[in-house]
């Protein structure tokens, strides 16, 4: 079926998007694993964006407690297979889309075929068994996959096994090598979840899918993105290459020496900042007509530094000597600037 360009005008209009990327979306084949809290909004946005080949795999049926977040379903769908209902509804709303709903669990037996037929996988599953299977089979078949998962008021999103922005490719197993024992990590049924949070995670996942298909922007591969809805904070944790490939002793030495250089440079910058602090303090002392040298304040602070030095495993007399030198220079600077040592 020809693409109705008018329908997608507002995204084609975007600088850097265009008809070419719309065609890529139309030709792409996405496997959606799970059509629950993440899968429902993800499916709606994939379909609306013009992804025309979508396979949904989910073995579950619709329950009343799903409806507050699984926004494709309503009370008329209760007890029916999610994959089937979802596929039917999307076909009605978007007749140009080839959407297949499979009432199956993604398992070793069907994973290779289903993932093999897709260009990429959007994992919206709610269990580790499925997620590790997606990771392993995607690695074997060389397919990228987009991860998303929620925990109470937080979610995580990332991209694995793409290799466009990060080399070598990053896998879920690089972060979490072993599947957690059953029951240790809570799922939504145990911990609870608000639909909008799952929707927010799903929207980020779909954006990653669109970027991967179109080859736009920077993917989240190599970054575990966390979001806390209660504090409004996004947190990026980047995968250091070291956890993927172990450094040799020589490589470690080079890295540690570079760190040492950086550390000493930071000490200089901290001393420069200290000088500025002393300058500002001096101005205020002058305004308040206080003495430049206030022996009890200094002795107090020097004693604190010596205690901290001991705690940090540093030689306290060396620290005392060092700070006396720095302090002496500070006093000289202040005297020079304000000329009122008393």
């Amino acid at each position: 079926m020809e693409i109705n360009w008018k329908k997608y005008h507002r995204q084609i209009l975007l600088k850097g998007f265009g008809q070419n990327n719309q065609r890529k979306l139309a030709e792409a084949n996405v496997l959606l694993v799970g059509v629950g809290g993440l899968g429902c909004p993800a499916l709606l946005y994939l379909a609306a964006a013009g992804v025309r080949h979508i396979t949904i795999v989910d073995f579950d049926t619709v329950e009343l407690s799903n409806l507050h977040r699984q926004i494709l379903f309503d009370e008329n769908d209760l007890t029916q297979f999610k994959a089937e209902v979802a596929a039917k509804k999307i076909s009605q709303s978007y007749p140009e889309i080839v959407v297949i709903g499979l009432n199956q669990k993604l398992e070793k037996q069907n994973a290779k075929q289903l993932i093999g037929e897709a260009d990429l996988v959007l994992d919206a599953s709610d269990n580790f068994e499925t997620r590790y299977l997606v990771d392993d089979v995607c690695k074997e078949l060389n397919k990228p996959w987009v991860y998303g998962s929620v925990s109470r008021y937080e979610f995580q999103v990332s991209v694995f096994n793409d290799g466009k922005d990060v080399k070598p490719k990053v896998h879920y197993r690089d972060l979490f090598p072993l599947e957690p024992k059953a029951g240790l990590i809570e799922d939504c049924a145990e911990a609870g979840v608000i639909g909008a949070l799952a929707g927010a995670a799903a929207c980020l996942q779909v954006m990653e899918v669109i970027k991967l298909i179109c080859g736009m922007g920077e993917s989240l591969e190599g970054t575990l993105l966390s979001y806390n809805s209660l504090t409004n904070q996004f947190y990026h944790a980047h995968v250091e290459q070291a956890i993927i490939s172990e450094d040799s002793a020589q490589e470690k030495l080079v890295k540690l020496r570079a760190d040492l250089q950086k550390n000493d440079q930071q000490i200089l910058h901290l001393l420069a900042y200290r000088k500025n602090l002393v300058h500002e303090i001096g101005l205020l002392k002058k305004e308040l007509q206080q003495d430049i040298f206030q022996s009890s304040v200094w002795e107090n602070s020097l004693n604190q530094r010596k205690q901290e030095a001991i705690q940090l495993g540093l030689n306290p007399s060396l620290i005392e000597e060092l700070f006396e030198l720095i302090h002496h220079q500070s006093l000289k600077d202040q005297e020079k600037l304000y000329g009122n040592s008393h």
């Binding site: 799970g34 269990n127 979490f176 809570e186 799922d187 575990l224 966390s226 947190y235 944790a237 956890i243």
Partner: protein, 77 residues
């Protein structure tokens, strides 16, 4: 070394706090052991550690004033 901890997901639920300061460890590994002794439930779940937003290996030295993220895997979908 003084570092600031940022706890995510179930880590924050186990420790009952999302952020706090720690000064008892010099390496990530020491920090992990100290926290696991204090909160035995942390030993049960896989954890990813980041220092200043870089996920890193456990033998790494803690940098002064670094922010240490502790992330468990999430399950819900």
């Amino acid at each position: 070394m003084i570092v600031t901890i940022r706890a995510f997901g179930q880590v924050a639920e186990i420790t009952q706090k999302t952020t706090w300061e720690e000064s008892r460890a010099n390496t990530l590994k020491e920090l992990k052991i100290i926290l696991q002794q204090e909160y035995p439930a942390l030993s049960e779940i896989p954890l990813v550690f980041s220092m200043n937003h870089q996920i890193c290996a456990e033998d790494i030295l803690l940098k002064p004033m670094a922010e240490i993220g502790i992330m468990p895997p999430f399950s819900g979908g």
